[in-house]
Symmetry: D2
Subunit: 453 residues, 4 copies
Amino acid sequence: MNIATHITLCTTGLVQQYQRVRTQSSALCEPLCVEDYGLQAVAETSPPKWHLAHTSWFFETFLLKPFTVNYAPVNDAYEFIFNSYYNGIGQQYAREQRGLLSRPTVDEVYQYRASIDAQMLDLLADQNHKHRATILQRTELGLHHEMQHQELLLTDLKYSLAQNPLYPAYHCLPPSSTQPSNTSPLIFCDYAGGLVASGTDVGNQGFCFDNETPQHKTYIAPYALANRPVTNGEYMQFMQDGGYQRAELWLADGWAMRQQKAWQAPLYWQQKGLQKGPQQDSKKGKAESKAESQAGQQQAAEWQVFSLHGLVPLELAEPVCHVSFYEADAYARWAGARLPSEAEWEHAASAEAIAGNFVAAQRLQPRSAAQPHKTMQQLFGDVWEWTASSYGPYPGFAAAAGAIGEYNGKFMCNQMVLRGGSCVSDRHHIRASYRNFFYPPDRWQFTGIRLAQ
Amino acid sequence: MNIATHITLCTTGLVQQYQRVRTQSSALCEPLCVEDYGLQAVAETSPPKWHLAHTSWFFETFLLKPFTVNYAPVNDAYEFIFNSYYNGIGQQYAREQRGLLSRPTVDEVYQYRASIDAQMLDLLADQNHKHRATILQRTELGLHHEMQHQELLLTDLKYSLAQNPLYPAYHCLPPSSTQPSNTSPLIFCDYAGGLVASGTDVGNQGFCFDNETPQHKTYIAPYALANRPVTNGEYMQFMQDGGYQRAELWLADGWAMRQQKAWQAPLYWQQKGLQKGPQQDSKKGKAESKAESQAGQQQAAEWQVFSLHGLVPLELAEPVCHVSFYEADAYARWAGARLPSEAEWEHAASAEAIAGNFVAAQRLQPRSAAQPHKTMQQLFGDVWEWTASSYGPYPGFAAAAGAIGEYNGKFMCNQMVLRGGSCVSDRHHIRASYRNFFYPPDRWQFTGIRLAQ
Amino acid sequence: MNIATHITLCTTGLVQQYQRVRTQSSALCEPLCVEDYGLQAVAETSPPKWHLAHTSWFFETFLLKPFTVNYAPVNDAYEFIFNSYYNGIGQQYAREQRGLLSRPTVDEVYQYRASIDAQMLDLLADQNHKHRATILQRTELGLHHEMQHQELLLTDLKYSLAQNPLYPAYHCLPPSSTQPSNTSPLIFCDYAGGLVASGTDVGNQGFCFDNETPQHKTYIAPYALANRPVTNGEYMQFMQDGGYQRAELWLADGWAMRQQKAWQAPLYWQQKGLQKGPQQDSKKGKAESKAESQAGQQQAAEWQVFSLHGLVPLELAEPVCHVSFYEADAYARWAGARLPSEAEWEHAASAEAIAGNFVAAQRLQPRSAAQPHKTMQQLFGDVWEWTASSYGPYPGFAAAAGAIGEYNGKFMCNQMVLRGGSCVSDRHHIRASYRNFFYPPDRWQFTGIRLAQ
Amino acid sequence: MNIATHITLCTTGLVQQYQRVRTQSSALCEPLCVEDYGLQAVAETSPPKWHLAHTSWFFETFLLKPFTVNYAPVNDAYEFIFNSYYNGIGQQYAREQRGLLSRPTVDEVYQYRASIDAQMLDLLADQNHKHRATILQRTELGLHHEMQHQELLLTDLKYSLAQNPLYPAYHCLPPSSTQPSNTSPLIFCDYAGGLVASGTDVGNQGFCFDNETPQHKTYIAPYALANRPVTNGEYMQFMQDGGYQRAELWLADGWAMRQQKAWQAPLYWQQKGLQKGPQQDSKKGKAESKAESQAGQQQAAEWQVFSLHGLVPLELAEPVCHVSFYEADAYARWAGARLPSEAEWEHAASAEAIAGNFVAAQRLQPRSAAQPHKTMQQLFGDVWEWTASSYGPYPGFAAAAGAIGEYNGKFMCNQMVLRGGSCVSDRHHIRASYRNFFYPPDRWQFTGIRLAQ
């Protein structure tokens, strides 16, 4: 079955999926006030409004402009303003200035979305379009692109809200599901390895990105994976054992970064009575360096973490989250273990059902592991798991032609692969072969640690 | 008549002035959409919302907290968030992050203002308060502080809006008054100088800032001042004569800055057909470096300037505006003249009436000089005039005690004095002895050039 | 045969090798004047004097201090000053300030070397030392460490001399061997791949670094390797086809770097008549940005390259050299090929003899390929060949215990593997399993390109 | 008497002075080893070799090239390499890279000097040269230029040597003259002020720089000056009273700089047992931040200072030295005094003989004040005294035409005036009207504090 056929059969499903995904973007923004839509704390964290517009731009640029007759853009300037990084389309408005676009307003962006949606649904309804196959294929890509940005919208927003000493909550209610309060024992599960298939091919099992292709053979020596991610409690032992002070546990670049940023704990951790909030201490300014002055007091004061629900107490049984690759690697070394390769992870994950704590659960925080459980759990959802693998092309990989080929391929350098999705991922967006990638120092995604041996 | 007496007599006037000034702040924000209130393009340009809150913070901090009983703050955290630079009050939220405060929302900030206003009017009504004199004095200071921030609100907003390739207008109508279209001849007016009085003393002629005191003797040699500011047309001759390419015209630090920033014209100037707007050229990103690539084409294309009314054609007869001290100094050298000292300027201005193109005229742009006119004009309003004087303490200057003494005194280094007010200044805020000050490279204020000899 | 036994058998050879290698360091410095010994253009390029001292520090720190009785250091401060990056030994003098150490003088550093040598030879002569095996093993490591620094001494010196507008030659004579002047045809040689052994184990075939171990299985799909490196002439076609202007050929990080550094050609290339030398044009300042202004003139003017023999004409048939990983990758994409993985490279190289243009030939420049030659050549020597492989630990890798374990392991992130050695490598230092590693933007090593398919 | 006549009369003296000054430059370098000649720790501190060459370049560029027939340069490239900042002559080799010029070698630079000297003496001997007056005038300027660089050579070298953890001494002997060991009482001397003459005119009293002209009237209110500079002991009281921790004592820019640089004491101060030297603590790296960790221990440990004689104990009675303008200003505020204006200083100094601790005394450190002494002392020599005056043009100032006019005028912005010369100034170079100027944060000159009221 070739790709075109595969997707044609799913047209009805695609229209439904289109509506589901597009509606989901606005639904995620419901708790926001107008002022929140423009927040951009650093270049990497785009404003919610920009995500809403850029995901529409994707459909406009790669579908409506090439495949509709006499397409009239809502505003010609949007091509420039809402282009993220596609040089094949043209130059881009400076990334770090996205927060300066007070216009178009929030209302205008929603009008832009509505206009794109109306025209997209017309286009999808045209069953005889001569580029029908490409249209369906790119629409599916556009929807996965939008699910990806839904996660970024939440992680970026969390980072930006965290800069505010009022610690505003995105979502005022407490995490919506209860969880086990005790830490489940950590067990290593053995895998035989061997000459296995890694990656996938288009059409194998529904959608995949080009960077997951082609399927290829990899040799893996026998290995073991921890049955759950590392918890906050375990990570705190690393901290109490001088984890952030012992250079020998760190990669050289990691240690340099730890020094430069004065890391003493994962992002968003702070100690009660020491945070920069109103009642406690309104005099402090700089978030990341705070923990520095707290060294030595780590056991004394109670830890809190900033979450999408505001400041909440640190739960020891929950998976540790918002750690960089460098911290994950140092922790693993301290623990006498290592991070898994992406081939090892994928091999293990291929046998598991894709289920877990995703965005639909509205927990928006990782969840502690189920009670005594000897088999693998939480590979999907909760936290993205750093692997030891640098993000590169699979043997035989070729990017698509044209600007759309810039989606994944040009980032295949300097980043590390993460696997499994998080508590703010859409479950429909995640699969065993999915390759996420971030730079080693990045901490603002929901990133955690699974050990290997 | 001592200060306390002076102000006591004006109480009724003060309450009226309080209401006028406070209302003016909100009036200036009427054209804004909610999204605009949070804009901060660089550290120096605070968001409108922050200006609205900080000016209220000033009354809260220096009047309500010390002089009312059981004062209950709207929010304890505001002391930290809305403190600009008063170390005596406590640490401050990072200046460059003011644009990240989506909360308090715009509505909440207006509620904050309303709460402060209600309590301030109560305090002002208490004629028997034992600190009555200080209260009146600080209230007057707070109102001048707020007028100062009203000007900054407009200049900061202009800078932030200019980063948007849609070139949004703050005020959609064209400049509200007509102006002469021909350039009035430039004439130098002679002054005898001599041993003159500079500066003023508290109580001399109404309000003054501490940095204008004490009045002191200065010796000025005979000098001449141009009867009007340099125009856009005259400045363009400097540009066409290689003004931005000839190192010999510039101070060393100015030339280094011109190189680093690739200055080729005043801030906000751009050539039609070359701007980064939608129709013309949606591919450009970086505003300041644009003009660089236009060297050599300067005569060919028509110049436009970004204004609070959006992009408008450059008017040759209008005073040149948004130039740094370095550009003003280079222009003066090229013109065979120099910039005036602040003592020269003040000596000349003392003889003139304070009238001109201020914010109330709603022109929001400098205005061209009146037709053939042999005497001094435009000393007040239109553009702040760079002087050759470094901003320092007058002989005998002493800052006030306590945190309020940080208002002016601690900035007396590295900045240059500007005089006369601009088209976005409040006329009640300006006087002959008024000393404004900015760093030599600063261009985002309405700054222009008056020549001396 | 265990390691200790293996080395014990070679003791005599080890002493001879010690003398050969140590003498070689001073021999390489013979052409220098005293002033050259302190040159450090950037943090990465240490002064010759520092290399001479640090290589002695290695023997002092890891052999003399632990294994001799009552060892008396020449100077206690050298432990701090000449420590490169061993946190286990202690903090280090700031890397970027090594050029500021006018003391110890050159003479004093040679005295330091002589003192170390005398004591090392005594230590090696003690056949009954209870740590004999470790001593021999570490001595061998120290000699390979020194051969590594000999190459760095030359590459660092080349970079530092290139900053001088007088273009001083390290070695005044022209390259000492003649070479073919025509370009040999490029042919791809096929390899079957399969499940192969990569890496090596200690004791397998003489010395190896820990990062080459353990030997492990890798699956390689069938592939082809070019029979020689890419030449200057071929690279110039890439340039003339807009290679440095076409974003679509580059990795995203590579393109950002190319923009930031204004790369237009490999490092050390410049066009005759445009260089910043005395006669031609004494007015230019900045080396790397020069080529920028030469775009469009590339065909007109004759290219020269700065070499260890001073400025010499560009030889089209020679391997292109001093390109970053980003340029190598962009070139390969332009050429419709790719870079080899390190496993592919090693698999091919395992079948070849280790011979070629190494430092002993005193050519100090890569050499053009032999005439029509259908088989593989130049895998060893000439230029280090960038691979597509990120530098990471082999499966099962474990760094040595203690400070000496910092040698290689802690750098296993963010760097790319290079293979094969260069025209300034010692032939005794190179083998098929050797893994060199540098950051993707690095250009100051003798780095070139071999294509794969 | 016009200028030309004045100098003509002094020709014999000029030749003698030429020989004296030129010889003095090489004499100052006698204690150096070849390796020291190339040291440049930061852009501002040029290598000794560069000073030797640049001062020769001055004679070559402004005298030999324009005024000798068929002048043949030693090396054409020197025009570019040894130009400091004269844009009128051409572009300059990057200032921060002067330490990278290992060639020309030290010997070659001395040969360059010899060649210039021979030709200069020929030129000075030509009594009938048609540009005789200009030649004499420029020669005198060139000699003052060289005396200025002799001081810089020592201050720059001191800074560069201080980066070496071995703390090498420039001059091994202890300071050559004894000094009082008790602190002389501080007394303020009153001056009546009034309308006084400031500055001087060419030909008034021997040589002066253009920035000292023209003489002009200034009004000075009655004032008082301390009879001696502030001592180390007095400055230590400021430190012990929290001087470096109390924002209210500092200018805003000064406080920002103090925070950024972590200043806790004057440059070159460190506490015994805490320095980064060999025996004590070989683990420390960064000089400026050291003192930070010593807060709170300031009374406990004994202070040392790095001097041109190496590390020596801090003498409490000596003038404090190597403080920035910001520190001088903060100290004065703490002491309830202020810094003098340059007009006040000059008015007082005009009445004093030019005598004191200059470079010829070979002390190379400031000297403590003479015992109980009620009149003014140490205005000349010992330490440059920061004034409260920003460096700007005197009324009527005009720079000389051509490149030579770049000497002083283009720096008249952002710097502060210093007066009186230091212990490393040439006594022939100093006079009451002499205006030195440095940026407010600069600390590497011998800069101190004299209080005014």
